[in-house]
Symmetry: C2
Subunit: 301 residues, 2 copies
């Protein structure tokens, strides 16, 4: 089934203890759509500037990603510069240039209006809601968010949460948004705000899925080295939503498998700089790592 | 099968955001043996002072815990005072009175010499090695340790590690001891020091088991509230080793189940202050939570 993502496309400049990269393609919509495109065709809704070249465009066009919704605006593409140090759990933002992203008003191409799976990436909750409202027949709408909106646009965020089926967010964001330290309570509080399903990302510790009275945990994939954690969360969401769209199955067992596919894709992303780890995977790579998750979590009662 | 633990018996005074407790029974040997005693008879090797009363002794005697090895020495029992704040991941030690523990020289009663499962709790690695050497026929010897010995008695610790089958330690300890940030490398480095099997405890994020090329992850039990994390690690080890001793089965599938039993017991411990959460469990409580872990981690490929 068709899958739509709205989010950012950016030029990222990154420094980690393992190296650096300058002005590489990044942003939530890029990581999400590249990851999800291994599973299902993706419609991408984002804005780029006049400096967005053929090389960058090819990253989308080489894959089953529809770029009708990739608006080209006058000015420069969104830029982010960040640095990871120590345990690399959090980036230190050194510079943000919103550029064309500042006045981004998502315009949904008519061909996108039938998208059945929708991911509202981390943009202003008012824009998320604007997109959501134009897709009333979607089977599943999930949203992300971040501390910036929790602190600065909480009322808008709550309105968005009330209008979506699922929220996918980091553990610290779940804690900040609800005031609850422990996930079980935080998830219950999030569900009370609207989304029936809550997915909490815990970085290297994996992720968990809360639905009705059921909780499911997936560990993080045990890597020997993490080169660049940028985009891990959006890549996770891409694998997760991609699997749901591919199977067109929202049953609890399939949501569990989707969570594992999310972890699988995120593990590939952080092994390389930028999008590099996601550009030339074979399905057998994804499959093999999915099966490793089964092997690493299975026990007989 | 018989299970021996050597460690500390203490009077703990604790403060957490949820309340406080003064001079309650604690110490690694206490948490371990109470938890393990739900699974198998336990032989406890530790020292207490003249102030150790009938009430405290009853905690052991009411359970299948042999106290021949609980030496009573002149002086006062070991005391620890600590405080948890914020996310309660680590205690701030306010006071340590070693008292009779300072000159503890474990003397193994002859009845204990046939113990087949042995847990060397967190004491000086020289004492751990001393005990280990007197139990050459044990089927499985596991040891714990802590930052204090890693920083202050590394050579002794390495000698102990070379003489045990398994090490059970916290993630931060594994990182400190090996210099590796990521668990997969840290576990390989630990195994190179001697123990065939490595168990890493990750607090609320659960635990993992490294054996040959196999890795197994168990999540932490999702509690609504953690009242007092004291003793969680020793309780985990008690459930883990207790299950192994009960089944007398060191196969990989049984080690996985043991890890889950460790998590189950730790979850009961932290729900109450001190040992309280461990004193009146029914087997059906343990069983129900074990089955919940299966439900929370299972997915179909």
């Amino acid at each position: 089934m068709s899958l739509l993502v709205v989010g950012s496309v950016a030029f990222d400049s990154l420094k980690t203890p393992y190296g650096q990269a300058d002005e590489v393609l990044g942003g939530s919509a890029s990581y999400f759509s590249v990851a999800a495109s291994y599973f299902a065709p993706v419609n991408v809704l984002a804005v780029v500037g006049e400096d967005f070249g053929d090389d960058q465009m090819r990253v989308f066009k080489n894959r089953p990603i529809d770029t009708q919704g990739l608006e080209r605006a006058a000015g420069r593409t969104f830029r982010w510069r960040g640095e990871y140090s120590g345990d690399m759990n959090e980036a230190r933002t050194l510079e943000t240039q919103l550029n064309v992203f500042e006045h981004f008003q998502p315009k949904i191409p008519s061909a996108y209006l039938t998208s059945e799976y929708v991911f509202l990436g981390n943009i202003h909750p008012r824009l998320q809601l604007h997109v959501r409202r134009q897709l009333p027949r979607a089977k599943l709408v999930a949203c992300d968010t971040m501390n910036y909106w929790i602190n600065g646009a909480l009322d808008d965020l709550k309105e968005t949460l009330a209008a979506v089926d699922m929220v996918i967010l980091n553990e610290t964001e779940a804690q900040l948004l609800t005031g609850f330290r422990h996930l079980k309570r935080a998830a219950a509080a999030l569900r009370a705000l609207g989304p029936r399903t809550v997915v909490v990302k815990r970085g290297e510790y994996g992720s968990c899925l809360f639905q009705n009275d059921s909780i499911f945990f997936a560990p993080g994939y045990p890597l020997e080295e993490v080169l660049d954690p940028t985009g891990a969360g959006d890549t996770f969401a891409g694998g997760f939503m991609g699997h749901l769209a591919r199977m067109n199955d929202l049953s609890p067992p399939n949501l569990r498998r989707a969570l594992v596919y999310g972890s699988v894709m995120a593990s590939f992303a952080v092994e390389r700089f930028g999008l590099e780890g996601l550009l030339s995977l074979a399905w057998s790579d994804i499959d093999a790592r999915f099966n490793e998750f089964k092997e690493m979590t299975h026990f007989d009662v």
